[in-house]
């Protein structure tokens, strides 16, 4: 099986040859090319080359066109702060006053250099990978983008006490998200990772999610012309798992704070939709794992969620920290290929 076949088989709730494995090292591409993080992300060719080299090294089942989360607010005029040892971060939120929401206009995808760079990298990845490897594009959800537009505190104030501004903000953000996701699909992305951490039960209560993020996701995902995976970026999802399935997403990226076995039980319960799980290796702890610990963590995740398919092994945040050593990434890859071969008969032996 090639990577795309492996992933599609698992998403169809069947067992492929191996547990699919999405390694998502974005910053490590700069190490591969011997470039600073800022220089690396300055050219589409660097990112495409970095992704191809990382996949050649670690044999994972996807390519990832993700540059850095605030690239989307960079398109709206936000300041980006580069760091020598971490992901580029957003500066002060560009909406200093919530009333400025009224003046927002959706940026043109094609005329925005930072977004065009991502589209170019996507095209380069597609040229190199053809139809054998899924290319994962990324769009931050309309409901979560305001954390970078306004800051968390002002966004909560708007969400909870300014329905007029909230509605206006969601309108412009939905238009942007749909246009951005579809542009990536047109450029060659196979699927879109819909990053929606604010919808997680870590950030807002489930009842509020059902009134807000859920409805926004249903509207937005229906307008994206390709498959989607909803990622909660380390946030909890158990209380809203059924709701997430109803948004139309195929996959949910889950937190290391939740038990994969419990989540698997819930999604496998009779009458539920065919939602697959993506996760949930702890990317923060990973930095100080030994190779033996990495192997143990991979085995534990596969044992909890691997049987029957419907599972892709991944980190829990959607971005491997710069500080994670190559040796550990290799240990994770080796462990997937050693312990992820179906059928997973070793699980019964280990449990005995």
């Amino acid at each position: 099986m090639n990577s795309l076949q492996r992933v599609l088989t698992s998403l169809g709730q069947s067992e492929p040859d191996y547990v699919p494995f999405f390694l998502l090292p974005t910053l490590h591409g700069a190490k591969e090319l011997g470039l600073s993080i800022e220089k690396y992300f300055s050219e589409a060719e660097n990112v495409a080359e970095g992704q191809l080299r990382l996949r050649a090294r670690y044999h994972h089942d996807c390519l990832y066109n993700f540059f850095y989360a605030p690239i989307e607010v960079e398109a709206w005029g936000a300041e980006i702060i580069f760091s020598p040892d971490g992901p580029p971060n957003s500066g002060q939120p560009f909406l200093a006053n919530p009333e400025d929401i009224q003046k927002l206009h959706v940026p043109s995808i094609e005329e925005t250099p930072c977004l065009s760079k991502v589209l170019k990298a996507t095209r380069l990845l597609k040229q190199a990978a053809g139809d054998e490897v899924p290319i994962i594009g990324v769009a931050v959800s309309p409901f979560s983008l305001p954390v970078m537009q306004l800051g968390f505190d002002k966004y909560f104030d708007v969400m909870l006490s300014r329905p007029d501004l909230f509605e206006r903000l969601m309108q412009v953000n939905e238009e942007f998200c749909v246009a951005w996701a579809n542009a990536q699909l047109t450029a060659g992305a196979t699927a879109i990772c819909y990053f929606d951490p604010v919808s997680s039960s870590t950030i807002i209560p489930p009842a509020l999610y059902r009134q807000t993020g859920y409805e926004i996701a249903r509207r937005t995902l229906a307008r994206i012309h390709g498959p989607t995976a909803t990622h909660l970026a380390s946030g909890r999802c158990l209380p809203i798992l059924d709701d997430l399935a109803q948004t139309g997403t195929a996959i949910v990226g889950v937190s290391a704070l939740e038990d994969l076995a419990e989540l698997k039980t819930v999604v496998c319960a009779a009458g539920r939709s065919r939602l697959s799980l993506l996760g949930n290796l702890n990317g923060i702890e990973m930095r100080r794992w030994t190779p033996r610990q990495a192997e143990a963590q991979v085995k534990a995740a596969i044992a909890k969620a691997g049987r029957g398919g419907g599972f892709i092994l991944c980190d829990n945040h959607g971005e491997i920290p710069w500080q994670v050593p190559d040796q550990i990434l290799m240990a994770i890859s080796d462990a997937v290929h050693q312990w992820g071969a179906y059928p997973l008969k070793w699980i019964e032996n280990d449990q005995e």
């Binding site: 909560f156 909870l160 950030i203 807002i204 509020l208 702890e285 100080r288 710069w322």
Partner: protein, 229 residues
């Protein structure tokens, strides 16, 4: 089942409130403004602290969301601000406490902790967002004794090590208390960066400060993880 069994929580709460009300009534009748204010403050704290602690514990268990933690802390701070403004505006009293975000512009964690501490009568300086060297200089210049540092990103959390090392090199006896997402996902990180303690939520920070106050933090108390001890 008797009446006491049916209402186990209501009776003692009502009794406690009744005593507090009587004491306050006497203070007011005696025109004892100081006692009245003290009683009001104590009453507010006796309700607010357990509520915020329950909210913090719920956040740890995944039963309470960040938006609720934030709003609860804001409401408490607003009430205290309106009722006891002098408590908030008073000059900082020993120990001198400051709070900062290291290198990130995500201020929510700092704001929640600040609100909870101020709601409980703890004064502190707010440094906003600073780089490590700036934070060292401000801490030394202001003779800060307890420094609270909030971070969102792992690289920022790791840079706390520069702060603790810089303060130690300057001979300052500053206790650094850390918090934020990276520490929630790695329970050994706070020790790695040389912190005195780690709070998993705002009420942890309050509990740590109270422990330090009651046990004389100038002593050689061991480091600890908030909520775990």
């Amino acid at each position: 089942m008797n009446d006491a069994d049916q209402q186990p929580a209501v009776v003692p709460t009502a009794a406690m409130n009744s005593i507090a009300i009587e004491d306050l009534t006497q203070a007011l009748l005696s025109l004892d403004r100081l006692t009245a204010k003290t009683l009001l403050t104590q009453s507010a704290e006796s309700l607010m602290v357990p509520a915020l602690e329950q909210i913090g514990a719920g956040w740890e268990r995944g039963e309470v969301a960040l938006s609720q933690v934030y709003m609860a802390s804001r409401i408490c701070e607003d009430i205290i601000n309106q009722t006891f403004p002098s408590q908030i505006t008073a000059a900082a009293q020993p120990p001198r406490i400051a709070i900062a975000v290291l290198e990130d512009f995500h201020q929510l964690g700092k704001r929640i902790v600040s609100s909870v501490l101020r709601s409980n009568g703890i004064t502190l300086l707010d440094y906003g967002t600073l780089k490590a060297d700036e934070l060292i200089q401000r801490t030394l210049a202001d003779h800060i004794e307890i420094l609270l540092i909030s971070t969102l990103m792992l690289p920022s959390a790791l840079k706390i090590k520069l702060v603790t090392a810089g303060l130690a090199a300057a001979g300052a006896q500053v206790k650094v208390i850390v918090g934020g997402a990276p520490f929630r996902f790695d329970d050994q990180l706070w020790q790695e960066v040389g912190a005195y303690a780690m709070g998993k939520n705002a009420s942890d920070a309050l509990a740590i400060l109270r422990d330090m106050s009651s046990e004389n933090y100038h002593g050689n108390k061991d480091c600890r993880e908030g909520g775990a001890q």
